[in-house]
């Protein structure tokens, strides 16, 4: 077994919680049916050899939570900036397309970073490879902010993979 039991258990817990939230049925029969389907899905996923550190990065939970709080603030600030530009008369944007060098080591972190860039209005990631991410920004300020690496340093690194 390549990946620890922890990942299998955390996937099961996640699926069962999802089932509970969606069904809302709390009698014994329904819960046992939900439990059975959860176990079946985890077993199938395990047989397909799909359970790894990327299925559900449970070892990054706390780090991701902290990053999401950071990201929420970034999204609100960026939204206000883009809305201001939309309603500003005349020349309101200065679009840039450039390649941003990546310092993040693991695939999960690179994908999280690229998605965070896209999720923030005013910046969109258009291409992602091992060394760089191609970014389109609405303004020169947003481009400079990304180049400063402020957001990249907030992205949690998947240390478990980097060491391997």
């Amino acid at each position: 077994m390549k990946y620890p039991v922890k990942h299998i258990i955390s996937l099961g817990v996640l699926l069962f919680t999802l089932w509970l939230c969606l069904s809302g049925q709390l009698n014994a029969l329904m819960i046992s049916l939900g439990l059975a389907s959860t176990i079946a899905i985890v077993a199938i996923t395990h047989r397909m050899d799909c359970i790894d550190h990327e299925t559900y990065p449970a070892h990054m939970n706390l780090l991701l939570l902290r990053f999401w709080l950071f990201l929420a603030r970034e999204i609100v600030v960026a939204n206000i900036d883009v809305i201001k530009r939309i309603f500003k008369p005349g020349k309101n944007i200065s679009p840039q397309l450039f390649e941003l060098p990546l310092t993040l080591k693991s695939d999960v972190s690179r994908v999280i970073y690229a998605n965070a860039i896209t999720l923030t209005p005013g910046t969109v990631s258009a291409n992602l490879d091992r060394k760089t991410v191609t970014v389109h920004t609405l303004s020169i300020e947003a481009a400079q902010d990304l180049s400063s690496g402020r957001m990249a340093s907030a992205v949690p690194e998947d240390y478990g993979v980097v060491k391997r």
Partner: protein, 112 residues
Amino acid sequence: MLFIEIISWLFIVAGALLGIAGGIGIHRFPDFYSRLHAVGITDTLCAAMFLVGLCMQTGVSIASLKLMLIFIFLFFSSPTATHALANAALLGGLKPELDEEYHGHCFDRHPD
């Protein structure tokens, strides 16, 4: 109860206004890539405002949990879809309208 009602409608109205702002942005921005940024508003803050407002309407129940799940799915899927669109446009050879004034500056920041 009235207080929660007022706050919830404030959120929903704010979400609607943000949606309109995003729509105006789509019409005002010049090319495909910059329009993606305007869509970003309706994807993020607009959707978040709506869902928070609707959560307050339903109160603590299974419905508000489901609304939160929609919120989570939206925040995972919308950047993926936007990235797929931008990537397809870039690989398809669609040239963005870039600002000449500062264009070179950012490329200078790239180490090689």
